[in-house]
Point group: D2
Chain length 327, copies 4
């Protein structure tokens, strides 16, 4: 198929390449002409404006918007809608908030346009491994776009089939690495929770490795200290343990390179999905202590001392005359 | 009554003074002769050794040990037991772990000695306000020591009686500010949980004031920022609000002095009781998310970046090529 | 002063009474004519509609809206604004979300009307004790309404002054039990965080008492069990301990009545403020583990088993063949 | 090699079988003669007592104890030590607390015996997949036992090598699926943290799936509900997503069988390692909010209502007159 790729950053550029490798045609646009030029060198048609992109696409035009969530995606979708023809399809492949998807889908539907939201996992490895995709949209549009998603997805590959899955009764898409999650918004909602879980998993490993490393602390009695080889521990857990995972594989890679991880200071960013996941939990009244603690650990990693810590010190001084002894 | 006070630090010295003000006689001992001299100036008999203390006490001798929990208390109790006569009473007024009390009480019972553990709350304010005490020991010893505890305790004072409390059916001690919690160990156990709760209460205020202060953050949309007067907020909550408390009073004092709390850096120590409370919760299989989070917030306050944070950064670099942007 | 009280429930009715006792005049309206009749019996003028209320008020009219947060408050404010005259003042004394206040204040300003938001703490005890109030609005309106707030507030009473507070440099309102927190929205924001803290404090006590009670569990070794008197423990902590508070007083009352609290099953509701406080923390990127854990404990209290628990059981069966043994 | 297998339950029996399939000889003992008979049928020598086991082993004898942690392991190790000859090796392959290992290793060393602790992950899948092992002991004993561990371990298999691992500079054991973690105790310590992480990972998935499932709740606005296919979501995340893992594979299997997981009620047991991990974190002063929340979620899953919940309800009734509305 032929589609316009709007936004040629790390994600958009590689997705366009994977699509071209799979036989699709790409009309490429980015605010940065160099990014367009690079993709043209890799086989895409370039375009200097959204209008020019539309001109190079057939009807219904397929627009894949791959931009940072927020204002820029919002404006771009609006601009595309402005110049679109009835039946055109706008795909938001970024990390938009799912309630924005619901709203935008209604807005586009009023103009006879289709809206599809694609939550994508796989990071910088996606070009080679394929992208795991969670998709919101209507059935008909979903069917139309299947060839695109099949190319982007990892496919069944060598991953063993899930025992007990009755293959003639279920949607075959999941095994190929993408799903039709539901109506517009459902794709990004599932991706949002995916990221919430991701935070939780990461923090579980982080705390575990912290406990392992701190077992050599001289705060402990001398005969209860261990000087553990974290690199080997991560490696061995990859092999037959209950906690093997891709995130553990990545941890093993990092520790193999430098068991002190001295390249990393420990300021950990968080994207919107973590926070939105907690919002969703609160809306649903679902307790989510682990996912929340994981999010808050990231906030805390970026603060030297909270004002709350100072309040604690002030109270301790107040009732006990305790002065602070930095450690 | 006449009793030996062993350990004349901030707590022991003031308790001895309050006892003398209440008409009791004190034989004072401390490793630091200056501390002894000061208390002698306030009316105590001094002693230069535990043996000398015993010589100045009648039988049964009453020993009040007021030392840091751990090795020094352990050794002192053992040394006292060594030189004690049957019927003597050893009181541990420090912050010992209650399982140590249970063990020591058995050890002393084997020698015909009595052991009493007193958990004390009130901090540096106790000299004036009196000490709230939670006491473990046998009934008879408890009755013998009542005059001592009555003097140390705050008494009923102006605090309103609890509606619904049937005064002729309950132990009158509680209204005077001390209780016989149970057998040896029970006093420190109740005090331990008291401190666990204290951590939780403090952290709840700390987080709340942090949220209030951070409401002026320039990360927020401009029309959603408030520059709040924390000093006045603490003050007004003291008056008729659901969250009024003594800890809030102390917070109001600290904020009245300096609303930025700039005297405090935010390195917050924790004593054993917080940790032991979580241990107790785990032994009992009681979920204690708030008390644990409060304890962990203190650990975190003393760490610049955890190794766990570095593990998170390493994973994020691994799957997304994300580099750290310190904020 | 003369003001209209809209909503005569538990809160609104008592506030109207306290105002009349303080010499103010009330025009009372409620959808329930019986509620109006009761207040008329206590000295108010009744009204059968918002229009009638306006007719009985001078200019600028002062409207105190005391209704459940959400649609009904929204509609009532809109209806009042419809019939108001320039300079009229609308006070929302309920528990509205502060962003709704910001929005409404702008809407009313466009019509030349004033908007004031009042967060109120004190519960059913307010009629006697007075109401602690956190108020958002402009300076001029605040000054105009001072007589109303002074009457509603507890006043300085017998509560000791905060040492270090420099009384000639600070707003005297805080000592009387109310503050001008900032522009519209600031009152409800401070009240929201107040409630967030309230949840945290309550959960800290709840976990502590749970640990105390469970210390008699037969899961524990026999010589480590204590059968503790929770009623006396709550009572003694009221007297000189670091954790004394009004919430503890209430706990002591409840335990004095029935130490098993058998009247209460443990389904704990949560109002919007707890959730909004966590939202605010996330917007500000402030870690708030204790306040969140307190909120989630309430969600969990209303669920028999989470689906998450079932997922855990399914995994445990998957890797270990573990079957569930209900306890 | 020839070794005695003491304890032929689900774990011990299968490990013995895997060892025999790898060419080792097993002398099998269990309190249950049927268990011995079954293993004899599979090729082992049987024994009716520990003494008989020793008689059938060469010197140094190798004992693999595979029993529940606690009293039974303690007694069995003591009994073996009683009848052992200098140089004999006792392996504890169960889930003992690592401080017990340190103590036992010293006790055995006094008698000229070697002690090895093996933490094992892999569950019921180990017979086929091999067991991931974390081992504590001295270097010489470790080398002696290498053939045993190599047989039990999964081996490198098809799992891709970790990029960046410099194979001629590192212990080759880790790639085969077992490590020499350190001196006695280190094996079980690493396994303990492994299980702590396991709890955290499981709870992260559990909360995520709970949030997905509850998105169909009728508490939500109708146009924000999604009725998501959890089975397909688990399936698609196995393929290229950041959160793919073996625990997710198991979840996918369970959901493929029954997306409601109606076989499971949600009473979730916890073994000692989760609690010990939090103990270790507290000893090291490492914040571990996620691992702790995961543990507490399990406690909570087994309680209908906590006493703490009742305390909350009692307070709410106290200050607000709120009555409980079960939901």
């Amino acid at each position: 198929m032929k589609l316009g790729m709007i936004g040629l950053g790390r994600m958009g550029g590689n997705m366009a390449r994977r699509l071209m490798q799979g036989g699709h045609q790409i009309v490429a646009f980015d605010r940065d002409p160099d990014a367009v030029a690079k993709l043209v060198a890799d086989g895409a048609e370039g375009a200097a404006s959204l209008v020019e992109v539309r001109g190079k696409l057939d009807s219904p035009a397929i627009w894949w918007v791959m931009l940072p969530a927020g204002a820029i995606t919002e404006q771009t979708v609006a601009a595309i809608a402005e110049g679109a023809k009835a039946g055109d399809i706008v795909i938001d492949g970024g990390n938009s908030f799912y309630k924005d998807d619901i709203r935008r889908a209604k807005m586009l539907a009023d103009r006879g346009l289709k809206y599809v939201d694609v939550g994508t996992s796989g990071g910088v490895w996606g070009l080679d491994r394929g992208y795991c995709m969670m998709i919101g949209g209507d059935d008909e549009t979903m069917r139309l776009l299947d060839p695109v998603f099949e190319t982007l997805a990892p496919g069944a590959g060598k991953i063993p089939r899930t025992p007990g899955r009755v293959h003639d009764k279920v949607d075959p898409r999941a095994e190929k690495g993408y799903i039709h999650a539901g109506p517009p918004g459902a794709g990004h909602f599932v991706k949002m929770v995916h990221n919430g879980i991701e935070y939780g998993l990461m923090q579980a490993y982080a705390e575990g490795f912290d406990i392992l490393k701190s077992k050599s602390s001289d705060k402990l009695p001398e005969d209860e200290r261990f000087d553990l080889n974290l690199t080997d521990i991560a490696e061995v857990w990859r092999r037959g343990s209950v906690i093997s995972s891709w995130l553990l594989d990545l941890t093993a890679i990092a520790l193999a390179k430098d068991s002190m991880l001295s390249q990393f200071s420990g300021h950990v960013a968080d994207s919107g999905e973590g926070q939105w996941t907690i919002d969703a939990a609160m809306e649903e009244k679902v307790p989510a202590n682990v996912l929340t603690a994981a999010l808050f650990a990231r906030y805390r990693s970026r603060i030297e001392h909270t004002f709350g810590d100072q309040v604690l010190s002030a109270m301790r001084f107040g009732f006990g005359g305790h002065t602070e002894i930095p450690q």
